[in-house]
Amino acid sequence: MIELAHVSKIYGKKQNQFAALEAINLTIESGRSVAIVGKSGSGKSTLMHVMSGLDRVSGGTITIDGQDISKLKNTALDQFRTDKIGFIFQSFFVQANETCLQNVMLPLEINKTPRSERRRLALEALEQVELADKANAKAGNLSGGQKQRLAVARAIVSKPSIIFADEPTGNLDTATGGKVEELLFEFNNKLSSTLIIVTHDTDLAKKCDVQIYIQDGKIIKINDLAKKKGAKS
């Protein structure tokens, strides 16, 4: 479970202060799929950064599975990301000069999985994104859609409890983007990991259980489909 209480993020000093996030209160149940929707500059990326422990809050607390990550030291925060978080970025960020297998093994290297285990786990993850045949191919030779699937494999290989996806289909055409979306929701169900997608694509947002609309650093609307369903029944 992710709980944000009075979270704010302020950039700059004194007269040049700018609040990227203001008094955010939010609770996200484990295993759900959440879309954070907003225009560019709305603060949606900042919200993702502070929730994932990439960035520090200026005020308030972020509690994830009972742990207040705003109070963690840097190394503990690194460990938290290693253990709990998987990332997927708009620009893929796969290592072009390394093989697909090496790319997927990176999180396992970071979390100190024994060498003998890494290959097996990485191959397993590649199989799940249907890239097993490309295991020894250089990542730079893949198509855009394949690269993002590789990134998905890298995000799920360490079995994180939360996966953050920052505009995961932003650089892809509809067909390949659809495939990536399919995979993301599949893992969200199968691994019961929380999926948080940052996007301005409303079609993608509608496929999520929860839509959080953000504007000027504030939450303006939360759509919870499950709750609505619950209300109806």
Binding site: T82, F87, F89, I110
Partner: protein, 457 residues
């Protein structure tokens, strides 16, 4: 991240930039090459000096004299003129002019001989023998030394007693065997040679000459007294490549014979019964502590003393000075290459901003990121060290036979001697230097903000 994974990852990223890595390493390789060769040359020359001293000096012998010059190991005499001392007399040094040197006397030698820690005393007889010959053979020049039982020369024939040579017998250098008409070294053993020595012009001879009422007219110059002694050949000494003797190998006489010949030559002169220095054999003086102890005692008695270790050290000093000069140049090269590493590493950090950002986002610690770049620098250092050392060894293998021949060092002796431990130490040092060079770029990488690094434009 585990250190092993960091090392592997750093190696992988270097392989991704082969040309850059190789060029940066080559800069270090130049320094490593120079250092490896310098160290090897130092080893070779040190070993040569050791052999030189050991084959020319008995390590148990101390050189004992009365004048401070005996302790002067640099070879440069004191530049301030000395006051003339009537009691010392003049010692002619041939073309180098004359010099006043306090000499050690027979009386001194008797005192030293009686010291309980002294084994044997061998005065340094300055014997200018005229020639060596055999009946019906030509006359040849020679140098003469007294035999030191503590330091047996290598023999090609004959044998030597464990104590002094028997009176009347000599050790003849192999170079005289053929020219004196012997078929082989073995053939010469037991045969005899004649050695002639000439008495110095002394006061008594001059008086006798004047008393005879003769003036210096052609054909009327006084004939110097000459004595020809016949000696039996006990052994033939092999030519030595490390002999310091300038006139070839010396003919070795027994102490008695050497003493007799010197007394004859110097009779009536100021040199009679006086020597520039004497070789004092001290029991156990191969040990530095024992030698220094004896040196201290002898010095307190007013003698000037030099041990064979002193001599070795003074020769070594010259080698060391030359060596440090080259080492300084090599170190300058390495310092220059450090900037190369710093530059390369900064480029590497810039090029891999995304990769660093991603690794940090996925939870890699800053310290691991820093080590990733330090190890990358270390790989460059290792590569440079290996390239430099390998080229230095290959060059040594190629030129050593030539150098050995050119410097006539003798079979099996080389001037460039590589010590694996030294090379390993050198490479390790270079790795450390490279890590230090990578420190600032590594810090820059470690401080990188992952959000900034991953911002898409």
């Amino acid at each position: 991240m585990k250190m092993l994974d960091i090392i592997a990852r750093a190696g992988r990223s270097l392989r991704g930039a082969k040309a850059r890595t190789l060029l940066t390493s080559l800069a270090i390789a130049v320094g490593a090459f120079t250092l490896t060769l310098t160290l090897a040359a130092g080893n070779g020359i040190s070993a040569y000096v050791d052999r030189l001293v050991q084959s020319n000096f008995d390590p148990a012998e101390l050189i004992v004299g009365r004048d401070k010059e005996v302790e002067n190991t640099t070879g440069a005499p004191d530049s301030t003129p000395k006051e003339y001392d009537e009691s010392i007399g003049n010692l002619s040094l041939g073309g180098q002019g004359s010099m006043q040197l306090k000499q050690i006397t027979d009386e001194d030698i008797r005192i030293i001989e009686q010291l309980d820690y002294v084994d044997r005393v061998r005065p340094n007889y300055q014997i200018n023998a005229d020639y060596i010959t055999r009946p019906d053979k030509k006359r040849y020049t020679l140098s003469v030394q007294s035999y030191n039982p503590g330091q047996k020369p290598e023999l090609s024939a004959g044998s030597l007693p464990s104590s002094d040579l028997a009176k009347g017998s000599i050790v003849l250098p192999a170079s005289y065997v053929r020219i004196l008409g012997f078929k082989s070294a073995q053939d010469a053993i037991g045969n005899t040679v004649d050695i002639a020595a000439q008495q110095s012009l002394n006061e008594a001879a001059v008086r006798e000459f004047i008393a005879n009422g003769l003036s210096a007219q052609p054909g009327n110059t006084p004939e110097p007294k000459r004595k020809v002694t016949t000696y039996k050949i006990a052994a033939i000494s092999k030519p030595s490549v490390t002999s310091l003797a300038t006139v070839g190998m010396p003919v070795l006489l027994s102490s008695n014979d050497a003493n007799e010949m010197y007394d004859f030559i110097s009779a009536g002169t100021q040199q009679y019964g006086k020597y520039l220095y004497a070789f004092v054999r001290v029991n156990g003086a191969e040990n530095k502590a024992v030698a220094n102890d004896a040196k201290k005692k002898l010095k307190s008695m007013g003698f000037t003393v030099m041990t064979s270790q002193d001599l070795q050290a003074s020769l070594q000093t010259i080698v060391n000075v030359l060596q440090s000069l080259v080492v300084v140049f090599a170190i300058i090269t390495i310092i220059a290459s450090i900037f190369g590493i710093v530059n390369t590493m900064y480029i590497s950090v810039l090029e891999r901003t995304r990769e660093i950002g991603l690794m940090k986002a996925l939870g890699t610690r800053s310290s691991s990121i820093a080590w990733l770049f330090r190890i990358e620098a270390a790989w460059i250092g290792l590569l440079g060290g290996l390239i430099g050392a390998i080229f230095a060894i290959l060059l040594s293998l190629a030129v050593n036979p030539l150098l050995t021949k050119q410097l006539s060092l003798g079979e099996g002796n080389t001037i460039l001697m590589h010590d694996p431990l030294q090379i390993a130490g050198l490479i390790l040092g270079l790795i450390l230097v490279a890590i230090l060079a990578g420190w600032l770029p590594a810090r820059k990488a470690a401080k990188l903000d992952p959000i900034e690094a991953l911002r898409t434009e």
